[in-house]
Amino acid sequence: MSDITNSAKDLTQSPVEKAASDKLLFNSAEWDFETLQTVFDAIRDIADNDLGLDYYPNQIEIIASEQMLDAYSSHGMPLMYGHWSFGKTFARESHFYSKGMSALAYEIVINSNPCISFLMEENTMTMQTLVIAHAAFGHNHFFKNNYLFRQWTDADAILDYLDFAKKFIAKCEEEYGYEAVELTLDSAHALMGQGVFRYSRALKLSDEKQRERLRRRLAHERKTFNDLWRTVPALSSLEPPEDDDEDLALNEALSLPEENILYFLEKHSPVLQLWQRELLRIVRTVSQYFYPQKQTKIMNEGCATFVHHYIMNELHRRGQIGDGSLLEFIQSHTGVIFQPDFDDPRYSGFNPYALGFAMMSDIKRICTQPEAEDREWFPDIAGCGDWRGVLKDAWHNYRDESFILQFLSPKLMRDFRLFSLHDEAREPFVEISAIHNERGYRQVRQTLAEMHDVGNLEPNIQVVRADMKGDRTLSLQHMMHKGKPLDQKSAGEVLKHVSQLWGYDVQMIDPENSEEPEKNVAAA
């Protein structure tokens, strides 16, 4: 906020007016490619020499609204494989858009190397400037440097991989019929949330060579297919069963328990064809690719918003954008970071832009103009002056949950007037457990951090047992968190999908009493 008031003071400095208007990057609301390039260079100058951002090379693409809707409907990825659910999203989005019920985003940015940003052609020149700063530098820097993205996503290979996936799935549809492909993909999509490794094993995307091998193998299988062999008993069933094969040993062989259900099915399902396993692999790869984004909504948007806010004000300070542009920017910016109160009809939880931007601006304040309270709470950064360094450290090494736990200041809790609620299912009332005061700060912060821990939001469901010697029933277990039950109806539907992929019965084991299966059982 202080930046804006400073620049408002600049308005009165008339002697430099003439010189300033010469420096303006643009004068009209209309944009053209030449101006975009000039603006891009000016922004890059600030990003490189002032903020010291580190980002992937940028590729900025201008698209029309219909193409934006296209991008919406497939996770924002330009190269998504075909599936009816994307068509459904598209039908809904375009219906809402054409009826004026929703507006489109100004941009979409893709975590890839080079980093691709899509800009809407309808944007004014000011908005294009804002969006370039936001996406091509803010998000881009975050993607390249945040530890989650570095560990879990492969920005160099993702576009190649999606291209492969799209072609592979199209080819499968040709060969095995779209119904069969759709059946497998539907089931895989139902398990998308359970298709990520949360703690171990970073995923390396298979390179072109491996994919080529798979293609060849599939082609070979097809060429040499002879129906006669199907009638010959499989080798394994001829061998005498090993009697002393303990369940435990088997489970170990299957590396159970396994949290990544899609991975487990891909590797161990008795019924899936090779191409179906590859489909599961594609789905879980996509899921894993988006997993870091789920955990860094506040940080990601906060970083991008902070960067665009800083850059726009700096551009104005340098006389490169006019007062009109600055006002247009401020109007749009305040809209983006608007946080309604809990009792506001517009309230639907925290606005990640608002919280992220507020926290990062607050860090800057703590570094440069700390108060006694800040020195007490943040002794190592208060007054250090190097807000760029502190922010970059935060951007690189935290996710939403840890970021809140580390950096949410008492001042911000007071500004937002945060309070925490405790809801015990069996009690007839909800209790206010803490508010924004000396006694409550820590608890509010703790609770807010937990709310942004994906591990708490998504149910933890694991494969615990596969009865390979008996009827091959697969057992899943819901590791209950704070007694929160699963939604039974949808869980039943998902179990049917699991059973579809496993080929045999699947049961959900009650978390309290691991022997009694819950009522959710899906038969193959």
Partner: protein
């Protein structure tokens, strides 16, 4: 080094494939929604895009998520006004997430019982006509090879003498003559005249002789030049060019016949109109070109425009066969049977002069049915009559007589309708495969 790429001109509709996948997926539900909406839609709306709501069931994408209630939950919300730690807020009776409602709703993705989106007109029609098949489509499929016709296609330098384009040729010739300075006949005539004049002189001087010589030489030169620069050179010649273009041969004409005598009220006409419009829509999708001929009749018949057909009043008796006569005449005059697929749709309240029914049947069986793709006879009744005539075999004279040939002609059908809701089912039945194979 440019970082910008303009994608605006890239092909649009990247999601079209996925949209079709989705429509295919929700086919049965969308079909039902379309049928339902058609029933109470007025025909003028029919052309427009349609908002469709289908039950979310069937296109839901289930996933594991927490139930909206149960367990211990902690939330943080912004905007505290009066709460202090330890305050207790009674939960609303009958459950509900209480304070946490907003969050739960967005997390759970529940409450989405209806899924609304917009179908384009083409999609609506495709779904509506999905499993309808035109009777006697064989005729059309045999005519899959498109008819070719010659069309003008500019001029060429080679061609048959009959196609010589005189104007172009002469224009080129004139231009060339001008450019190469071809001596005109007038120039030579002028010289000749001067020559005659000199030669006619009795006393020729030396200079006269010299001039005669000069003129003769000049004339030789001019004549030679006229030979080098001919009046018409082969390079001037242009021919009209023609090329073969396909013409839509898949064309249909639809005869709408209606009784407009006093016994047909507004309601009856309205029903008939809806039927015609649907028939027209249907034919428009199957044929590249559809002509419509409106014939109204009382005791006499005439071809009229659409406006007159539906909205002008006429009084008189009822002789149905006159309409058939006019239809046959128009057919002979304008729509040769080997180029047009002919559809007849007749609407009537079933009353005709006694004895006329027999003549109608004769015309139908001898003249019309052997040569037309389909002929449907729609009898419009009121609700009460519909109950009385629940049995197909009973009815007014025209109905009973037409039933006698119903079984002999697969391309002939008779139906009764009494309310707008009846039209669409009847329409379906008229063109369904079963009706055709009967």
């Amino acid at each position: 080094m440019s970082y910008f790429i303009d994608r605006r001109l890239n092909p649009k509709g990247k999601s079209l494939g996925n949209r079709q996948r989705f429509l295919r997926r929700a086919r049965s539900q969308i079909k039902k929604a379309v049928q339902d909406s058609l029933k109470d839609r007025s025909v003028s709306d029919f052309e427009k895009n349609q908002k469709i709501s289908i039950p979310a069931k069937g296109t839901t994408e289930p996933f594991f998520h927490h139930a909206s209630k149960g367990g211990t939950r902690d939330f943080v919300h912004p905007g505290n006004k009066e709460f202090d730690a330890g305050d207790r807020i009674r939960k609303p009776p009958g459950g509900g997430g209480g304070e946490g409602q907003g969050k739960d709703a967005s997390d759970g993705g529940e409450g989405e019982d209806e899924f609304s989106f917009t179908l384009t007109q083409d999609e609506v029609l495709d779904i509506f006509f999905e499993d309808l098949e035109l009777p006697n489509m064989t005729k059309t499929s045999l005519k899959q090879v498109k008819k070719m016709a010659y069309q003008r296609a500019g001029v060429t330098v080679a061609g048959a003498p009959t196609n010589l384009n005189l104007i172009r040729t002469m224009r080129n010739s004139f231009g060339r003559r001008l450019a190469l300075n071809r001596p005109s006949t007038a120039d030579i005539e002028a010289l000749k005249e001067r020559l005659f004049e000199l030669e006619a002189k009795a006393d020729r001087h030396v200079e006269d002789h010299a001039e005669i010589k000069r003129i003769l030489k000049k004339m030789d030169e001019l004549e030679a030049k006229r030979r080098w620069v001919p009046y018409i050179d082969p390079m001037d010649v242009r021919y009209n060019a023609f090329e073969q273009r396909p013409v839509p041969s898949s064309q249909a004409v639809m005869f709408c016949l209606m009784d407009v005598s006093g016994s047909m009220g507004e309601r009856e006409k309205d029903l008939a109109k809806r039927f015609y419009i649907l028939l027209h829509l249907f034919l428009k999708r199957r044929y590249e070109k559809v002509d419509t001929v409106f014939i109204r009749h009382t005791h006499t018949a005439q071809e009229v425009d659409e406006e007159t057909f539906f909205y002008s009043r006429q009084s008189g008796g009822t002789i149905v066969s006159t309409a058939l006569d006019v239809m046959l005449k128009v057919w002979e005059d304008r729509y040769p049977a080997d180029e047009w697929n002919v559809y007849g749709a007749q609407a009537s309240d079933g009353y005709t002069q006694s004895g006329d029914a027999q003549r109608c049947i004769e015309l139908l069986t001898q003249e019309i049915l052997p040569r037309c793709q389909y002929y449907s006879y729609i009898e419009i009744l009121d609700e009460r009559e519909m109950e009385v005539f629940a049995d197909d075999e009973s009815g007014a004279e025209l109905w009973r007589t037409s039933r006698t040939i119903f079984n002999d002609w697969p391309n002939f059908n008779t139906k009764r309708i009494s309310s707008p809701g009846d039209i669409f089912p009847v329409f379906r039945e008229l063109f369904s495969k079963e009706a055709a194979s009967e």
